[in-house]
Symmetry: C2
Subunit: 420 residues, 2 copies
Amino acid sequence: MKNQMQAEAAGTAIAGHGLDWPHLFATRAERMKASEIRELLKLLDQPDVMSFAGGIPDPALFPVAAFGTALTAALSGDSKGAALQYSVSDGYRPLRDWLVTRMASLGVPCTTDNIMITSGSQQALDYLGKLFLSKDDTALVGWPTYLGALQAFNAYEPNYDRLTPLGNRSAADYSHTAETKGGKVKFAYASADFANPTGETLPRSARENILDLAHELDIAVIEDAAYQSLRYDGDEVPPMLALDIARTGSIEATRTVYCGSFSKTLAPGLRVGWVCAAKPVISKLVLMKQAGDLHSATLNQMAIHTVASDGFEAQMAKIRQTYRARRDAMLAALAKHMPDGVSWTRPDGGMYIWLTLPEGFDGAALLAQSLKTERVAFVPGRAFFADGSGANTLRLSFSCASEATIEEGIKRLGRVVRGG
Amino acid sequence: MKNQMQAEAAGTAIAGHGLDWPHLFATRAERMKASEIRELLKLLDQPDVMSFAGGIPDPALFPVAAFGTALTAALSGDSKGAALQYSVSDGYRPLRDWLVTRMASLGVPCTTDNIMITSGSQQALDYLGKLFLSKDDTALVGWPTYLGALQAFNAYEPNYDRLTPLGNRSAADYSHTAETKGGKVKFAYASADFANPTGETLPRSARENILDLAHELDIAVIEDAAYQSLRYDGDEVPPMLALDIARTGSIEATRTVYCGSFSKTLAPGLRVGWVCAAKPVISKLVLMKQAGDLHSATLNQMAIHTVASDGFEAQMAKIRQTYRARRDAMLAALAKHMPDGVSWTRPDGGMYIWLTLPEGFDGAALLAQSLKTERVAFVPGRAFFADGSGANTLRLSFSCASEATIEEGIKRLGRVVRGG
């Protein structure tokens, strides 16, 4: 009995009490860990918690009626069988055609063969990790960066090195570092606009620097454009893919893979995103999609196409107005309630504001305290750093809270920070 | 100019004419090849081709009205925001609860925590390959087996060894073979009922043999149950997962991972399937799902739940009746029109009949001939063999053709075979 208890305590298997699964799993399984953010999402179910944690759109802004009409239409007439049937792995052609026009409006001339549909941009990140990363290869990412990108890439057992958009490291230095870790640098990943988690936008010069570095290293660039449409102030900065085309003359000569999403604009629950890139990349991704889940849901692609065709810009105008006011409310509340020594970003769009607390603060401990005494939730920043730094940072999302909640919640958070 | 043409002919990159992408791709990308079946699906668009190629359900049998009602309900009232919002990675809880009852009816007592939702069972196969297979590990598969399983597993760079349900090879022999290839045997994969491509069902004794072998090797069993509900004759055989529970006393002590799908019963275009297994497997798969695409489409899971709850058995009765008549028509036509020396399976369910032609026949050449002279399509069998054998085999699907088309098409195919 003592031996059995010891074995159980050590996590090993007992005959009749379950297999020793970890010894059967691939080595990559060791890097699959629970997401702090996802665990936190459970807090949203508690009605007395003021949550600035989840990076989710406000469901009150979803074009529900338009989707209802679109779904009913898809299940009527000639399309009703096709809407529920298997379909091609590259995606619903009318939606891909619509995206050609959309990409052109962003300065990216391309053809339908440069576009494939994915189940959200998260799937694009997973598939791009799968396409580029052999074990021990290196991915360049920001410090901090989107946690979901790290989770997607982790499955392919890469190393990470820090992408510094200011270009203060040489290509040779990056290459050498990757070689000492047993692989090659394969891509630079960056969220260009109103990034998760910082809310910051890469200026044109930083985008050009990343392209320069990628050219010198002869690697790909993965441009995560999930928030690209959510601009509330200032002028648009061309996507890195557009800048790459401006350099090379054609999308077929570029090294940039653009990942778009309808999750932050129309609705995340339908899981529709896209990739736009040179055809050799799209061709391989389509084979991967075929082997991975055959295709994204047919009906959902049809519904997204109808709703986007009928009123994408009107929907964007609506959500921009709401989110702009919430961002302004949060910036004003931070200025009012945060003590000296706390700094934060001032995003031109997106859903996030990033706080940096004085050294010595620990975001996770602050969250525990905040939930206990003030019932306010946010995401501690450390999870967004591939090297585990950033303990004194935290992410606030303003997308789902009313202006009154933002004022009250930030006031409470200010008390927690003062108390910490 | 000559050099450039030579380089282009060799598939290498020219400055300004696109990157040398293959040198940037991971090693696994070399194993991602276009699917013969998917290429063939394009033929379905040609109205004068009689196709027995695609393994797809008849869209005329989809419960379109029920889905319309379910989708409208999901987008009304309290659920309308949630239906379009992000949701949890393990899946929509009411659907998982419904599946607990469904699995119990198949002899698999389990809890909601033993079930996760995937985007079709294809995604389950991809994720299970990802969970178990490190490079050079071995997967045991049938000769032939489901092509989509090979495609899913290929991304993780495994070796394949032949699973012989009759148990004529020792566990030590399998282990030794895997070790000489640089890895370990990780799982045995089998489609237990009306398998794609053969239509054959593993008898209980073969299932027990696979479980015995898996126990001796201490590996997992992946049970692909995509066609399990499509039985037209004979008695149900318990799922391998049920037999495993009967041996071990609890799903938590089993080694079998059951992959189910609504694609062949309700509708494939919504991409909803599930995995049922011990909790340690489900927990890791949920983390993988979170990193891979966050979750399957929320609305689709809600709609599948409503349609399944309201009339799964009635829908099954309808499609069984139709497919049974088509299977009978195809078996009768084969008996009438195939020359001596051709043999075929007599499936108790599913969508497929598997033909074996005399040695020396080549299925791919026969298809080319058949399309040219008789406008009849099928799938040459070789793609289903991990070792590239099986040239003299072919797969016929009876799911999408009327009885009259089946009679005429098999008559034509008989002429092609006689001519070959």
